[in-house]
Symmetry: C2
Subunit: 261 residues, 2 copies
């Protein structure tokens, strides 16, 4: 429990950057994307797969430059995605050294880490609901914390013993309820006119938050690693901290874009 508290404190500078939004948040997202990709690709190397780091870094630079030039242009975003996938394919043309798995790992890193984390920026840039950037973090971290405590107090039935042995069904339910309640309270105070949308977002994001957590676990398990990195000593790497956010950010963004706006 002590590590939970300390890891919580390590999040305080993050909250300041999210509060500031704009360029500081943009810089944070670029750093998280770059370190996240590096950690994720290091994991693939432990599996004997060699993704192209430089291509992913190039994709990050191009994505954020395009976004600066034309923020919120989704045709451009799709073009970036298609281009990144095509370039990743070129990486396997040297068949004697490379395999499709190297190209596929590169694509996966670009989409899963870079594209997904970019949705934090998209929420922040939303003209009407940029305040809901807090929901991305709130749903992810509340799910995590409430799942931990309700699992600790009531946990009896294992959720998926092969994948993440400590997780329980009681924890998953408690985490989901915790996220719904916290997001509802946040909505009621900050955006009362759409507070019940916040409840729904809290529910959907809680489910996806746990999918994100389990996805990261599934990769790590096959990579044969316990943590993605050791950036915050004792608390793993960027990808261990933000595995849930990678999934809650798209959920919150598309809810805003397709339902609220």
């Amino acid at each position: 429990m002590k590590t939970r508290v300390i890891s919580g404190l390590a999040m305080v500078p993050l909250l300041v950057l999210v509060y500031l939004g704009g360029y500081p948040l943009l810089a944070l997202c670029i750093i998280i994307a770059a370190i996240g990709v590096k950690e994720f690709f290091d994991g693939f190397k432990a599996m004997g797969i060699n993704p192209c780091y430089n291509l992913a870094y190039l994709a990050i630079i191009v994505l954020y430059v395009l976004n600066a030039a034309a923020p919120g242009n989704f045709e451009l975003l799709c073009a970036w995605l298609a281009g990144s996938i095509m370039l990743s394919s070129l990486y396997m043309f040297r068949t004697t050294e490379r395999s499709p798995l190297d190209a596929m790992a590169t694509m996966t890193g670009i989409i899963y880490v870079v594209f997904f984390s970019f949705h934090v920026v998209l929420v922040d840039q939303d003209p009407n609901y940029s305040i809901l950037i807090w929901m991305v973090l709130l749903s992810a971290f509340c799910t995590d914390i409430f799942a931990y405590f309700s699992g600790y107090l009531f946990g009896k039935h294992k959720l998926c013993p092969n994948l993440s042995p400590k997780k329980t069904i009681e924890g998953a339910v408690g985490g989901t309820i915790g996220s719904v309640v916290c997001c509802g309270i946040f909505g009621y105070i900050v955006v009362p006119e759409i507070w019940w949308h916040c409840l729904i977002m809290g529910l959907i994001a809680a489910v996806f938050s746990q999918f994100g957590d389990l996805t990261a676990s599934a990769y790590k398990r096959k990579m044969g690693i316990k943590d993605y990195g050791n950036l915050i000593p004792g608390h793993g790497g960027i990808m261990d901290r933000f595995d849930s956010v990678l999934f809650t950010a798209p959920v919150i963004f598309y809810y805003i874009a397709l339902i609220l706006n």
Copy 2:
């Protein structure tokens, strides 16, 4: 050379559907995506990787239903992409049976086959330049045919012997010139006001057409298969016929969307 002529004739019904556009073309794209994914995933199975066929079929259905409901909504397209990638991740949660490679192969199929081929529909739906749907096919097939003949006549220097032993640099140059000339002529006759844009599109699409061809070859080589399928006896499967189109369709579409429109 005889097989080239016959395979050319097999394309005539296709040309009729492209000429009709709209629903017939939509149906063709759905069929190509479904058969293409099946062929591509069969290739992965030959490598010992087991992607989720049903998830890809579901992704196709959802994509085309969403497109019918809200054509040309790129936020929705990005949401579909993110959702498909997330669902593909869930596929590996049964860690005893599945590996990240199964999930990554599923994602690759959805993006490379389904998302890329969908750009044919996007070009057809363009309000101003749907006529340029012909450029998608013209660039792909002219590159292929001119590369074949110029390689046959002038070919001396191997392009990438490990990947595709018969291809030559002379063929690649000849194919590119052929595409530029044919696309230029097409533009001059059909859309004279933007004929030089057609030249540029012919050039870019010719390069990507050959990338698409080589990408399919790189996958096949590691999958240990010669052809993706045997749909048209003697001419391979859908993926062997349309490997170039998968890359020219996004190129033409984004040129239209980002430069012409």
